[in-house]
C-alpha cells in the first residue's frame, strides 16, 4: 500500500489541471489549446496562479510541484517532465500519456578533455557527483555498479566541477549549450525525458469520462 499522505483535497467542481511554469510552459499551453482549452489568459502577464477557462481550472506551478498536487488530488491531472516523475518516483500518480515535447536527456557530464572522472574511479574507487537529481543519479550509478558520493545542489549545477565540488554532474540537457559554455561535455546518457500527462488515482476513477476525453484530445494535439 502506498500514498498514505493525508489529503483534504476535493475532486468536485471543474477539472483542475496542474500546468508547469518554466521550460515546458509554452508547449504545454500549445497542447492545451490544441485540446480545446483556451489558454490566452495564461499567456498574458497576469500574476495570478489560477485561471478558469473552457470549463476547467488551470493551476500554474513549478514543474517539480506537479506530482505533489496531483498525488494529493489538489489537481486532478497535470503535465510535467519525466525527469520530475523519475526523481519523485515515490509519488503515486498515474502516467497516462507521453506528450512528446520538452525532449531532453539526463546525462553524466564532466569537464571537457579532463580525466578526473576516470581517475577518481580508479584511484579512489568512488565518484563525487553534483546533481539536482540525487535519486535518478543514485539509481543510475547503482545499476551500473559504481560507488558514488552525491552532492545535492539546488542551483546551477554546471558550476560544481569548475570549482572542485565533484568530479562530474548528473543533469538535464536540452541543447547542450549550457554545458558547452561551461566547458563540460556529455560522457554518458542516462535517460531521455519528455513531458507527460499524469492523473490523480481517485480522479482517474471517479472522473473517468472527463479524463479519458482530455487524454484523447491531448494525444491528438501532441501528435
Amino acid at each position: 500500500m502506498s500514498g498514505f499522505a493525508d489529503s483534504r483535497a476535493r475532486s468536485d467542481g471543474p477539472l483542475k489541471i496542474a500546468v508547469p511554469r518554466g521550460a515546458l510552459f509554452g508547449e504545454t499551453l500549445d497542447v492545451l489549446d490544441g485540446a480545446g482549452i483556451d489558454t490566452a489568459e495564461l499567456r498574458g502577464d497576469s500574476r495570478s496562479l489560477i485561471f478558469e477557462a473552457s470549463g476547467v481550472i488551470l493551476v500554474t506551478m513549478r514543474p517539480s510541484d506537479v506530482p505533489t498536487y496531483v498525488e494529493s488530488g489538489a489537481a486532478d491531472v497535470g503535465i510535467t517532465g519525466k525527469d520530475v516523475l523519475l526523481e519523485q518516483a515515490d509519488r503515486v500518480v498515474y502516467e497516462l500519456l507521453d506528450l512528446g515535447f520538452g525532449r531532453c536527456r539526463m546525462v553524466l557530464a564532466a569537464q571537457t578533455g579532463d580525466d578526473r572522472l576516470a581517475e577518481a574511479q580508479r584511484r579512489l574507487g568512488m565518484l563525487r557527483i553534483a546533481t539536482k537529481y540525487p535519486r535518478i543519479a543514485e539509481r543510475y550509478f547503482e545499476s551500473t555498479g559504481r560507488q558514488v558520493e552525491l552532492v545535492e545542489v539546488k542551483g546551477s549545477v554546471e558550476l560544481a566541477p569548475l570549482v572542485g565540488l565533484g568530479d562530474g554532474i548528473v543533469d538535464l540537457v536540452a541543447t547542450g549549450r549550457t554545458l558547452e559554455e561551461n566547458e563540460l561535455e556529455v560522457r554518458e546518457e542516462i535517460v531521455e525525458c519528455t513531458a507527460r500527462f499524469v492523473a490523480n488515482r481517485v480522479s482517474h476513477k471517479l472522473r473517468a469520462t472527463e479524463i479519458d476525453e482530455l487524454t484523447a484530445k491531448l494525444r491528438e494535439a501532441s501528435r
Partner: protein, 326 residues
C-alpha cells in the same frame, strides 16, 4: 515543555476521539448486524506467520526479537492474522463459513517528510469458507452498508480482477524480469512505461494497444462488453467472472455504487479474483480496499475460499468531515 513522539504517530484528543468512536461503533454495528462477530488478535506476531501472507516479504516493517530470541513483527494489516486465527481456533470445531470483523491498529513503513502515518486503524470484515460467487457479493453488500453508516453516500467501490493481468501476460508469453517490470508498470499505472515494456518484450503493437486500452476500462456494465471486444482467453475468464458478480449485484439492487475497473491492481501478493478499492469524491486517496484471497487459507493448512475488505478509519473520518462541509 514539548516531549516528542516518533514521526508518523499521533495523539488523539477528545473532540476527534468522540467522532472516531462514533464512527467505529457505527461500523461494528453494521458488521455485527450482518453476522460478523468481532475478534481481536495481538498487534505483534511471529514474523514467519505474517510473512506467509505476502510472498514478496513486503509484509511487516517493524521487526524485533523477544527475550528468547524469537523474531516478532507488528502486523501491517488484519487479513493474515485472521487467516491464522481461523486456522488455529475454528478448524475442526466449527463449520464454515466464518464471518468475522475487526477494528485494529496496523503498522506500515512511511517515507520521510511525507506526513504519512505509521499507525492507522483498519475496520473490516473477513468472510471465510463461503462460495466465491456468493462471498464476493456479500462482502460488497457489507461494504456498501458500512459506507452508508459512515454517511459517505457518494463513495464508489471499484471492482476489478486480480488474475486478469497475470493470466494475460502468461497468454502473451511474457515471463521473468519483463513480467515483473510489466506488472510494476501496471501497479503504478504507468501507461507510457507499460507500452515500452510490452513493445520491448516483442509483443505486436496491436496487442500492446489492447493491453493499454484494457487498463483504461472503468465504468458500468458497458465496460464488460468493451472488454470482451478486446478478446483473449484470459480477458474472457476475468470478464465472465466480473459479469456474474455484477449481474448478481444488479439483481440485489446493490450495483449502483460499484464501478467495474479493469485497471485495478492491488499490491498485496495474496489476492486472487475479485479486488476492491473504495473512493470518495471528497478525498484524493483511497479509503480502503479488499477482495478475494482464495489461496491464502491454504498457506495456513485449510483450503477455504475467502474474501474481505478493510476501511482506513482515519481516512473515512476525514472524508466524513469533507462531505459534511459541502
Amino acid at each position: 515543555m514539548i516531549h516528542p513522539i516518533p514521526p508518523g504517530t499521533r495523539d488523539v484528543l477528545p473532540d476527534e476521539m468522540r467522532e472516531l468512536r462514533r464512527l467505529e461503533r457505527a461500523l461494528i454495528e453494521v458488521f455485527e448486524a450482518r453476522g460478523y462477530g468481532e475478534v481481536a488478535t495481538p498487534a505483534m506476531e511471529y514474523d514467519e506467520v505474517l510473512a506467509r501472507g505476502d510472498g514478496r516479504g513486503a509484509g511487516s516493517t517493524y521487526r524485533f526479537f523477544d527475550e528468547s530470541g524469537e523474531l516478532l513483527a507488528l502486523r501491517s494489516e488484519m487479513t493474515v492474522p485472521i487467516a491464522r486465527l481461523v486456522a488455529s481456533r475454528f478448524a475442526g470445531t466449527q463449520e464454515p463459513p466464518y464471518r468475522l470483523c475487526y477494528l485494529a491498529s496496523a503498522y506500515r513503513a512511511v517515507r520521510p517528510q511525507r506526513g504519512q502515518m505509521r499507525e492507522m486503524v483498519h475496520a473490516g470484515v473477513e468472510l471465510i469458507g463461503a462460495s466465491p460467487e456468493e462471498g464476493t457479493v456479500e462482502v460488497i453488500e457489507v461494504l456498501e452498508a458500512a459506507l452508508d453508516a459512515a454517511g459517505l453516500e457518494r463513495a464508489v467501490i471499484g471492482l476489478g480482477d486480480a488474475d486478469l493481468y497475470r493470466q494475460l501476460l502468461e497468454e502473451l508469453g511474457v515471463e521473468g524480469e519483463t513480467r515483473d517490470a510489466v506488472l510494476a508498470s501496471l501497479a503504478t499505472h504507468d501507461l507510457v512505461g507499460l507500452e515500452e515494456e510490452l513493445s520491448a518484450a516483442g509483443i505486436g503493437s496491436e496487442r500492446v494497444q489492447t493491453c493499454v486500452a484494457l487498463t483504461q476500462l472503468r465504468g458500468g456494465s458497458e465496460v464488460l462488453d468493451e472488454a470482451r471486444g478486446l478478446g483473449g482467453a484470459s480477458v474472457e475468464t476475468a470478464i465472465s467472472r466480473l459479469s456474474e458478480t455484477y449481474a448478481e449485484l444488479e439483481r440485489r439492487g446493490a450495483a449502483d455504487r460499484v464501478q467495474i475497473d479493469l485497471g485495478l491492481l492491488r499490491d498485496l501478493g495474496y489476492y486472487s479474483g475479485a479486488i476492491l478499492e473504495v473512493y470518495d469524491p471528497a478525498l484524493g486517496h483511497i479509503l480502503g480496499g479488499g477482495g478475494r484471497y482464495d489461496g491464502l487459507m491454504e498457506r495456513f493448512g485449510i483450503d477455504l475460499s475467502a474474501a474481505g475488505f478493510a476501511l482506513y478509519l482515519e481516512r473515512v473520518h476525514t472524508a466524513q468531515m469533507e462531505e459534511s462541509r459541502r
